[in-house]
């Protein structure tokens, strides 16, 4: 579902990412591991089309769903509106029924009218995942989804991502420096500092 060839990215003179080849098929689950500053976020942004690499070719199946590290739900909109916003901004038809279905899938069916500030971090993360899968992505990207979570919540967050990716038949890429995620992923890309 994506293919990166000879991708390099520099910030000024500093090269932050260098990948000769990185490819994934539909339904693959990839873990991108590496410490802070290793280029994980740069890789995710290149995959998401938010950043153009300095060199190399990028082919990614769309649409893409992204769960950013800080979640970044829009505070002035309700949970349901945050989901519908994803469809509106992507130019897709807005489907309240789909929003209800996705929210039910992440266990947040009864919080559709709440504002983000009324949610716990775990609930907000579920909503962020729901927003990412609203457009039935072919590639689901999560940036540091387990940071600052205890073991139980870490497992729950990864379960949720895997379940939702499977539901959409999407390729899943999780970028983290958290080694607890390692055993769950058959495909791993380790980036150096």
């Amino acid at each position: 579902m994506f293919s990166l060839k000879g991708v390099r990215h520099r910030y000024g003179a500093r090269e932050v990412l260098s990948l000769e080849r990185f490819e994934a098929a539909q339904g693959d689950k990839w873990l991108v591991l590496g410490p802070s500053g290793s280029g994980k976020s740069t890789l995710l942004h290149i995959l998401a089309g938010l950043l153009h690499p300095t060199s190399g070719t990028v082919e990614v199946a769309r649409p893409i769903g992204i769960v950013p590290q800080k979640l970044h739900l829009i505070a002035s909109l309700s949970v349901e509106q945050n989901l519908l916003l994803a469809q509106y901004l992507a130019g897709a038809k807005q489907e309240p029924a789909r929003a209800a279905q996705v929210l039910a899938g992440v266990g947040m069916a009864d919080r559709a009218g709440d504002r983000p500030h009324q949610l716990s971090h775990g609930q907000a993360q579920r909503v962020a995942v729901a927003r990412a899968v609203m457009n039935r992505p072919k590639l689901l990207i999560a940036d540091e989804p387990t940071s600052n979570l205890d073991d139980a919540h870490c497992a729950a967050a990864l379960d949720l991502l895997e379940a939702q990716a499977a539901e959409c038949g999407a390729t899943l890429i999780v970028a983290t420096h958290d080694a607890r995620a390692k055993p769950r992923f058959a495909h791993r890309l380790e980036l150096g500092a």
């Binding site: 938010l50 800080k70 916003l85 469809q87």
Partner: protein
């Protein structure tokens, strides 16, 4: 979800800032609206009141006072003129028509005007009830005077000395109402008409008969355009009369009032510009506050144009709401002012009318809003996404 929906959600999320911006814009628009409505109505009203009157002849003094007192019934007359001089002027070959006015008394603030039947005819007044006067001490009420005093045909009343409230009443010489005029939208609605002889009778009560007769003013219509060049000069050259042009004096009055009006209008525009600046500051601050939101929107697929549209729609929604609120406020203020002026029998103005320029006020407000949003909107559309998301 759509751009207006998202913009309104952001506006609702900051109720105080939104309300203050709305208020600032509304106050500016309301100020300009009140001035627009007031000047339009006063100009129209004075134009109607003075139409067909080329010259006013009266006692020597201030020509503006003469016009204000004799045409618009707003000021006190400077004095009276001998009937003989007025009659001589009325018979002048350059005078087509001359309507005598004898002032001096009032009833509950409404002036009693001694005149002849040419006066109501000049304003196209029709009788709504009763008939015009035929003998002295019969009175015909203008529509507004009848409504405010509650007098009906057959009622009797005593005029009070002077043109304001509180004058000594001429109880021994009561008037009888014989007619009520239909509304004309002119000054005649606010006066009580009677014959010139009635006014003489009231003021000669208890005095020896045979004294010199006087009137207050003569409303003159020229027989030919030539009269405008020669007649006022001839009148002013005489020892007793003064000529004044209603058109010239009205224009002079508006020029004098115009300075104040322009200052207030400028104040209104300053408020509108201040509101624009406030919107600009609010949106510029919002760029910083919403940098994550904007980045997330780009991440979710928003085009640069959509982000630009988001801020533009927000500013336009604020401007349109402020302008509509200001227009409504302006009309309400105008109506309150009109009610106060009607209560003291001054120039009637109302808030229930529309000035064509108000549409331009709406355009102005939207223009200021769009201008204020342009730079923040452009910056929002150019913002880099990845660095913002990366800094998390």
């Amino acid at each position: 979800m759509n751009l207006p929906g998202i913009s309104l959600a952001y506006l609702r999320a900051k109720p105080l800032a939104t309300a203050l911006n709305l208020l600032l814009l509304a106050l500016g628009i309301a100020t300009i609206t009140v001035l627009m409505l007031a000047t339009q109505q006063i100009e129209e009203r004075m134009g109607r009141d003075a139409r067909g009157i080329d010259m006013v002849a009266g006692a020597k003094g201030s020509p503006m006072q003469l016009v204000l007192s004799a045409v618009f019934h707003l000021d006190a007359p400077a004095g009276n003129i001998p009937l003989a001089d007025a009659t001589e002027l009325a018979r002048h070959r350059l005078v087509k028509r001359a309507i005598p006015l004898a002032l001096g008394d009032s009833y509950r603030g409404f002036r009693i005007v001694g005149t002849n039947h040419d006066y109501p005819a000049h304003y196209g007044a029709r009788i709504a009830a009763g008939s015009l006067w035929t003998t002295p001490m019969q009175a015909v009420l203008g529509a507004e005077a009848a409504r405010a005093t509650g007098l009906r045909v057959g009622a009797k009343f005593a005029g009070a000395h002077g043109l304001g409230d509180g004058g000594e009443e001429h109880e021994e010489e009561p008037y009888q109402v014989v007619g009520i005029l239909a509304p004309t939208g002119t000054v005649i609605d606010r006066v009580v008409l009677t014959s010139v002889e009635s006014v003489w009778e009231v003021h000669e009560h208890g005095k020896p008969p045979g004294g010199p007769r006087e009137v207050t003013a003569l409303l003159v219509q020229y027989a030919s355009p030539l009269a405008a060049a020669t007649l006022p000069r001839a009148v002013n050259a005489g020892p007793t009369l003064q000529a004044a042009s209603p058109a010239y004096e009205s224009a002079r009055l508006f020029r004098m009032l115009g300075v104040g009006v322009e200052v207030l209008r400028a104040f209104g525009f300053v408020l509108v510009l201040a509101a624009g600046l406030s919107v600009f500051i609010a949106l510029t601050n919002a760029l910083q506050e919403r940098r994550y939101d904007l980045a997330v929107m780009r991440m979710l697929g928003a085009t640069r144009a959509k982000l630009m549209g988001l801020l533009l729609v927000e500013a336009l929604a604020l401007s349109a709401a402020g302008a509509l609120l200001g227009l409504a406020l302006g009309h309400v203020l105008m109506e309150v002012l009109g009610a106060a002026l009607r209560a003291v029998q001054q120039v009637p103005v109302t808030g229930w009318t529309w000035a064509p320029g108000e549409l331009w006020l709406l355009v102005l407000a939207l223009g200021v809003g769009a201008l204020a949003a342009l730079l923040p909107a452009w910056r929002a559309s150019r913002a880099e996404v990845a660095p913002v998301l990366a800094e998390g």
